[in-house]
C-alpha cells in the first residue's frame, strides 16, 4: 500500500493523466478565450487533443549535427519536471501528495527546468532560428525568474513558512493576499506569462522573426511533449498563483473557478499588447518588475 500511493500520485492524480487532461483543457479555454476576444469562434473542445495526437503520430525528424540523445531527452525531461512539480502543489484544491519544508523553492526550480530544457533544446539543434530562440529564451529566464520568485516569496514570508501547503492554509484563513499584496500578485501573474512565453513575452518564439524559436527543428513527439509540458506548467502556475493570492484553494470547486478566472485575465493580457522586443522585455523586468517585487518584499519585512 505504501508503494501504490506514490505511483497513483505520479501516474494518475495529481501528476500524469489528470494534469495532462487538465493541461489540454486549459489550453483550449485559453485559445477559445483569445479567439472570442478577437471576435472569432476559436477551436472546438477537442482541438488541443487532436493536435497532440497528430503530433505524437508523426515522424520525428532528428536533424544532422545535433546530439540525438539530448534532442530526445530534453522534451521528456521538461515534461517530467513539470509533472513532478505538480506533486507539491494543491492541485484541484486537494492537499498536495507530498509536502516538506521548503517545497516551494523546489517547485519553483522544477518549473524552471522546462524553460531550461527549451533553451538547451534550441541551442542543441544547429539551426539559426533555434539558436536565436534559445538565446532569447535564456535571456528571458534571467529577466523574469528573479521577480517571479520574489513575488512568490511574499506570501511565504507572511506565512512564515516555505511550504506550499502551509501558505495555502494561511491564505484560506486570512484576507486574500491579492488585496494585501497587489504588486506581488501582478508581478506573479505577468511573471507566469513570461515563463510560459505567452504574448507579449513571446519574443523567444516570435513567428514573424524566427519561425518558432527554439522549437523550430522539433516535430512529432518532441514537439508534442514540449507543448504538453507548457500546458501542464500553465495549470500548475495558475494553481500556485491562485493558492497564494486568491485566498487559497480549499476544494475542487475553488480550484476551478479561481484558476479559470485567472486564465481569463491571462487571456485578456495576451490579446492586448504588441510583442515586446527582447531588450524591452529585459528592461521591463529589471527596471520595473524586479524593483516592484523588491519594494513589496521590503515593505513586508519591515512591517
Amino acid at each position: 500500500m505504501n508503494n501504490i500511493l506514490p505511483i497513483v500520485a505520479l501516474i494518475i492524480f495529481p501528476g500524469g493523466l489528470f494534469l495532462l487532461t487538465s493541461g489540454l483543457a486549459y489550453e483550449w479555454v485559453d485559445r477559445k478565450l483569445i479567439a472570442r476576444f478577437q471576435n472569432r469562434f476559436g477551436p472546438r473542445w477537442f482541438q488541443p487533443l487532436a493536435d497532440t495526437v497528430k503530433l505524437l503520430a508523426k515522424e520525428e525528424i532528428i536533424p544532422q549535427g545535433v546530439n540525438a540523445f539530448l534532442f530526445i531527452l530534453l522534451p521528456v525531461m521538461g515534461l517530467a519536471a513539470a509533472l513532478t512539480a505538480a506533486l507539491y502543489v494543491p492541485m484541484a484544491g486537494l492537499a498536495p501528495s507530498f509536502s516538506f519544508r521548503g517545497d516551494l523553492v523546489v517547485t519553483l526550480y522544477l518549473l524552471s527546468v522546462l524553460t531550461l530544457c527549451l533553451g538547451l533544446a534550441g541551442a542543441n539543434s544547429a539551426d539559426r532560428f533555434s539558436l536565436i530562440g534559445a538565446t532569447r529564451t535564456l535571456t528571458q529566464v534571467f529577466s523574469y525568474e528573479a521577480p517571479f520568485m520574489l513575488a512568490m516569496l511574499g506570501p511565504a514570508i507572511v506565512t512564515g513558512s516555505w511550504q506550499i501547503n502551509e501558505v495555502n492554509a494561511y491564505a484560506q484563513s486570512n484576507l486574500w493576499l491579492i488585496i494585501a499584496q497587489p504588486i506581488g500578485f501582478l508581478v506573479a501573474l505577468v511573471g507566469l506569462m513570461g515563463k510560459l512565453e505567452l504574448p507579449p513575452f513571446d519574443a523567444p518564439e516570435a513567428e514573424t522573426e524566427i519561425v518558432s524559436g527554439a522549437l523550430t527543428e522539433y516535430s512529432g513527439r518532441g514537439y508534442a511533449l514540449f507543448r504538453l509540458g507548457k500546458n501542464v506548467e500553465l495549470v500548475i502556475g495558475l494553481t500556485l498563483v491562485a493558492a497564494f493570492y486568491l485566498g487559497g484553494l480549499a476544494s475542487p470547486l475553488d480550484f476551478l473557478w479561481k484558476t479559470l478566472a485567472l486564465l481569463l485575465v491571462l487571456a485578456l493580457l495576451q490579446t492586448l499588447f504588441a510583442r515586446l522586443r527582447i531588450d524591452q522585455t529585459v528592461g521591463l523586468w529589471w527596471r520595473i518588475g524586479a524593483l516592484l517585487a523588491l519594494v513589496q518584499l521590503l515593505v513586508l519585512i519591515v512591517l
Partner: protein
C-alpha cells in the same frame, strides 16, 4: 555561423513573416542587424512579354493580374494610356467611377497593410480587428463590381458598370462605419504604449534620403517628400475631384502608419464627393480594335506609390511594348538601407513597412552592406542551396 563570426538569419523564401515569397538575409551581431541583402523574383511570370502576344483588350486583363491587391490601378494606368494613344477620352462619369473604385481599393489595401504590419509586430488583436473591418470595403467592392479581388471595372474607353442610388447609399453607409473605425485605430496606433515601442523612431528615413533613394508613395510621404501623382499630374477624375496631400515629418514606422491612416480620411471624403457629384454621361466611348501607332507614358498613384506604365503601339491590334514599373521596386532601397543598426525583431515590421508586393515587383535586389562592398562571407542563394543539397544528401 562561420569563422568570421557572422551569423546570418535568413527570412524567406518561405517564412511566416512573408505572405509572399521573397528572400532576405540579415547578418546579425547578437540582436543587431549589421547588413541586409535580399533576393526576390520568385514570382516572376513574364507578363511584359506575354502581353505582346495578346490583343489590347486581353492585355488589360493580363496586366490587371499583376497584383491581387491593386488590380484596379494597373488596369486604370493601362486604359488611360491606351485611350490617349487612340485619341479618345473616357466619359466623365466613367472617370469618376474609376476614381471611386481606386479610392475604395486604396482603403482595402491600406487596411490590409496595417493589419499585416501589426501582426508582424505581434499585435494580433489589431490585425484581427482591421481585417474584420476590411470586410466592409471588400463587400462594397463585391457589390459594385461583382468580385472581391479583380474588380475588372475598366474597359478601354470607359468602365463596365454604373453606380445606382442603392449602391451609393450602401457605400456611404460603409464609409461612415469605416471612417469611425479608422479614427479609432489612429488613436490606438498613436497611443498604445507597447505598439509605439515597436514603431516610434524605428527605421527612420530622412527626407533627403527618401528623395535620393527615389522612394514613392506613402513611404516617401512619411518622410515629408511631397510625391503624389494624383496631385502632381491629375489623371482620370482627379482633376475634377482634387486630393489633399498627406505627409508626416518623422519618417519612422509610426509616421508610415499615420500617413496611411490619414490618407484614408482623404479617400473617404473623396468617395463621398464623387457619390454626391457623379457627372451624367455615357459610360463608354468607342475605341478601335487597332490602336494608332505611338507611345505614351501613363502614371497613376497606386496605394503603394507611383505606378509607371510605358505603352507603345505599332498600329496593330497588339501592343508593341508595355513596360510596367511598380511602386514596390524603388521602395526596396529604402528598407535595406535603413535596416542596418536595427534589432532583428524590427526587421519584419520594417520589411512590411513599405507595403511590399512581391508579385508586383517580382524582381531581385542586392544591397551592399555597411562597408559598401559585397562581402564574400555573405551567403548567396546558390551557396545556401548547395549547402542544403550537401547537408541533406
Amino acid at each position: 555561423m562561420d569563422k568570421q563570426e557572422k551569423f546570418i538569419v535568413p527570412i524567406g523564401p518561405q517564412h511566416p513573416a512573408l505572405k509572399e515569397p521573397g528572400h532576405f538575409e540579415f547578418t546579425v551581431d547578437g540582436e543587431v542587424v549589421t547588413s541586409a541583402t535580399a533576393r526576390l523574383g520568385y514570382v516572376h511570370r513574364g507578363i511584359e512579354k506575354a502581353v505582346e502576344n495578346r490583343n489590347w483588350t486581353q492585355a488589360m486583363y493580363m496586366l490587371e493580374r499583376i497584383c491581387g491587391i491593386c488590380s484596379h490601378v494597373h488596369a486604370t494606368a493601362y486604359c488611360l494610356g491606351v485611350e490617349k494613344l487612340a485619341g479618345v477620352e473616357a466619359p466623365p462619369r466613367a472617370q469618376a467611377i474609376r476614381v471611386l473604385i481606386a479610392e475604395l481599393e486604396r482603403i482595402h489595401s491600406h487596411m490590409l497593410w496595417w493589419g499585416v504590419a501589426a501582426h508582424e509586430g505581434g499585435f494580433d488583436i489589431l490585425f484581427m480587428y482591421t481585417w474584420r473591418d476590411r470586410e466592409t470595403v471588400m463587400e462594397l467592392l463585391e457589390m459594385i463590381s461583382g468580385n472581391r479581388v479583380h474588380y475588372s471595372a475598366n474597359l478601354i474607353g470607359g468602365v463596365k458598370f454604373d453606380i445606382d442610388q442603392k449602391q451609393a447609399d450602401a457605400i456611404r453607409k460603409g464609409i461612415d462605419y469605416l471612417e469611425e473605425r479608422t479614427r479609432h485605430y489612429l488613436e490606438i496606433i498613436t497611443t498604445d504604449e507597447t505598439f509605439l515601442g515597436r514603431t516610434r523612431n524605428i527605421g527612420v528615413m530622412t527626407s533627403d534620403q527618401a528623395k535620393s533613394l527615389g522612394a514613392v508613395g506613402p513611404t516617401a510621404r512619411a518622410s515629408d517628400v511631397h510625391r503624389d501623382v494624383r496631385i502632381d499630374h491629375p489623371y482620370a477624375g482627379y482633376d475634377r475631384f482634387p486630393v489633399q496631400i498627406v505627409t508626416e515629418k518623422e519618417g519612422d514606422l509610426e509616421a508610415r502608419f499615420i500617413v496611411r491612416l490619414k490618407e484614408l480620411f482623404e479617400s473617404y471624403r473623396l468617395i463621398r464627393e464623387v457619390l454626391d457629384n457623379l457627372p451624367d454621361s455615357e459610360l463608354t466611348v468607342k475605341v478601335p480594335r487597332k490602336i494608332p501607332a505611338g507611345q505614351v507614358i501613363s502614371r497613376v498613384e497606386a496605394p503603394r506609390g507611383e505606378l509607371f506604365y510605358y505603352i507603345e503601339s505599332n498600329g496593330s491590334d497588339q501592343p508593341e511594348r508595355i513596360k510596367v514599373r511598380t511602386p514596390t521596386l524603388p521602395n526596396w532601397g529604402t528598407v535595406l538601407s535603413t535596416a542596418v543598426g536595427l534589432k532583428l525583431a524590427d526587421m519584419p515590421m520594417l520589411l512590411v513597412g513599405i507595403d511590399p508586393c512581391f508579385s508586383c515587383n517580382d524582381r531581385l535586389v542586392y544591397v551592399k552592406d555597411q562597408n559598401q562592398s559585397l562581402t564574400e562571407k555573405t551567403w548567396s542563394w546558390d551557396d545556401l542551396r548547395n549547402h542544403g543539397i550537401e547537408r541533406y544528401k
